[in-house]
């Protein structure tokens, strides 16, 4: 398996002296579903801008599938499909014109582009809107249009900058399914997102960027394994706790209301002792869930340390 993206010592200083990237090293393997996380202004979009040649770098080296940004720009660009954060298509052009034109810029003949546009617009649920001007689409449709546009020249690396921002939950889930599907077909995906749940459920590897530096670069599994404590919310059977004073010893816990408790569990402790104690008090647990997104907790810790 080859390296899809390799970044070495990437620096970017904007006019006025703002140092957005302070020497980034990053590697993404072919076929990966990779998350690039970071708070606002951390350097995520600048990194993506440099890779897609919309931002001129100050120093460093970028290669995509072995093609160098400085010396093999044309070949490098062919490998990438970009879904930017903001809508950047002509609002007066129709959906089909936008995707077909984009393919044309990549040298895809018009007849082939027309065929592919039918395929991708159908897959992304936009076929019925193919003759509508882009300005008439809903926010979610515009996001999907940008994905279709980025795929029409059939890139090997798809970069999505906050693709589900402002998209409702149902549509977000369907976009996740689609992205997972194309990733399984072999397209390497790099995703920036503010929804950490999105990164946790979709991505295998992750880099966290803060103040222009990579502060963590590992697999999501390994990162989550570093989490020592998790908080669980237990919904108790109201009848089983009627006129009872629930007691859980040896754990940090809080009673949220009459039949809901919140328990902090260290990795070494395990949950069995909680259930044993509740069973001994004839208290039935109806359901249980994590209180917070685990990745979110780690993210806050890491970014907090970096600040």
């Amino acid at each position: 398996m080859s390296t899809a993206l390799a970044i070495k010592g990437l620096k970017k200083t904007y006019k006025g002296g703002f140092e957005a990237l302070k020497g980034i090293d990053l590697e993404v393997q072919e076929g990966d579903f990779f998350a690039l996380l970071g708070p606002n202004g951390a350097g995520k979009s600048t990194t993506i801008g440099v890779i897609s040649s919309l931002v001129n770098k100050t120093a460093g080296q970028v290669t995509v599938f072995g093609y160098d940004l400085d010396t093999q720009l044309v070949e490098l660009k062919k490998q990438i499909g970009l879904v930017p954060q903001e809508f950047n298509f002509n609002q007066f052009e129709t959906v089909r014109q936008i995707v077909v034109n984009q393919a044309g810029y990549y040298g895809v003949p018009r007849a082939v582009a027309m065929q592919r546009s039918e395929h991708y617009l159908k897959q992304l649920g936009l076929w019925d809107k193919r003759n509508s001007p882009a300005r008439m689409l809903s926010g979610g449709m515009k996001r999907r249009l940008m994905i279709a546009r980025a795929l029409l020249h059939e890139p090997k690396l798809l970069i999505l900058d906050e693709p589900t921002a402002g998209v409702d939950i149902e549509l977000r889930r369907s976009m996740w399914d689609y992205l997972e599907q194309i990733n399984k077909q072999g397209i390497t995906i790099i995703l920036t997102t503010h929804y950490l749940e999105e990164a946790e459920s979709l991505c295998r590897n992750i880099a966290i960027i803060d103040h222009g530096r990579i502060i963590e670069n590992t697999s999501i599994k390994r990162l989550l394994a570093t989490l020592n404590m998790e908080t669980f919310i237990l919904d108790l059977d109201p009848e089983s706790v009627l006129e009872k004073q629930v007691e859980i010893s040896g754990f940090q816990w809080r009673q949220i209301d009459e039949h809901t408790v919140e328990v902090d569990v260290e990795k070494s402790q395990g949950l069995n002792r909680v259930f044993e104690q509740l069973s001994s008090q004839q208290v039935r647990v109806l359901s249980m869930r994590n209180k917070a997104n685990r990745l979110e907790e780690l993210f806050v810790n890491l970014v907090g340390k970096g600040a």
């Binding site: 044309v74 660009k77 014109q97």
Partner: protein, 258 residues
């Protein structure tokens, strides 16, 4: 990138540009027809009858090539300036920047759009002129065609350069208002510069539009205030200077890359 790739990209930009100005034909194709009809009526029929002849031709015949050239200049310029600035403003210029389209192909595509609109408008104005002149003769077809293509290319490039520097929509109307219109009006569209007194005739020769209008008039009527060879040379030199400027601006990403 191979030739076929470049050709496909060029064709795509050209089709997109033509689709754009044809979609808004009421704003792009109708106004020149109305404006030029008014010029023909006022300067040609009403004022022209009192003027009589200019350059040995009836005044109406004299101004026809100048008015066609004026339409070519303004339409080439405004087509590329507004289209490129809109693309920059809406950020859809990024569609081209992230793709493997060479700078020359982007420039050629926009020139193609400007040229297409200029040619359509030129045909419309020529057809309108048929109502005001008895006959339209062509003295030198090759000079005529070359002048149209080179002038349209030159002002498409000028529009592109203006759009690169522009930060607001107001910025793309400053040059047409304060530079293009005075140069065109003083460029021999309505008069022969031989009518200008002494020093003003010399000053008028520094106006590049003069060479375009006169080369075009020569192609139509066979008369010109300047040497046609010199006129073609001036147009070619300006084209080279403007192309190199536009190329460097786009290549370095001025106003479009950070």
């Amino acid at each position: 990138m191979s030739t076929s790739y470049n050709f496909t990209a060029l064709k795509t930009i050209w089709i997109k540009e033509c689709t754009r100005f044809l979609r808004i034909w009421v704003q792009t194709l109708v106004p020149p027809a109305i404006t030029m009809t008014l010029y023909f009526v006022i300067f040609g029929s009403i004022v022209g009858e009192r003027i009589g002849e200019m350059g040995g031709r009836p005044y109406m015949e004299f101004i026809v090539p100048g008015l066609i050239m004026m339409s070519i200049i303004t339409n080439s310029y405004s087509n590329v300036a507004s289209s490129f600035f809109s693309a920059k403003f809406q950020r859809n210029i990024e569609e081209m920047l992230v793709a493997p389209v060479s700078t020359s192909v982007i420039i050629a595509g926009y020139i193609g759009g400007g040229l297409a609109r200029a040619l359509i408008v030129a045909v419309i104005v020529t057809v309108v002129s048929f109502y005001f002149v008895e006959s339209v003769t062509i003295h030198h077809g090759l000079i005529l065609v070359l002048t149209v293509i080179l002038t349209s290319t030159l002002f498409s490039l000028a529009g592109l350069i203006n759009a690169v520097f522009a930060k607001t929509f107001d910025d793309i109307s400053i040059v047409p208002t304060f530079v293009l219109t005075p140069l065109t009006y003083l460029g021999g569209v309505f008069f022969s510069i031989s009518l200008l007194p002494g020093i003003w005739e010399t000053i008028a020769q520094f106006n590049p539009v003069l060479y375009m209008v006169n080369a075009f008039r020569y192609g139509f009527l066979g008369i010109s205030d300047v040497d046609v060879g010199v006129a073609m040379g001036v147009i070619v030199v300006f084209n080279l200077v403007f192309f190199i400027t536009a190329y460097r601006l786009l290549q370095t990403g001025r106003g479009i890359r950070s």
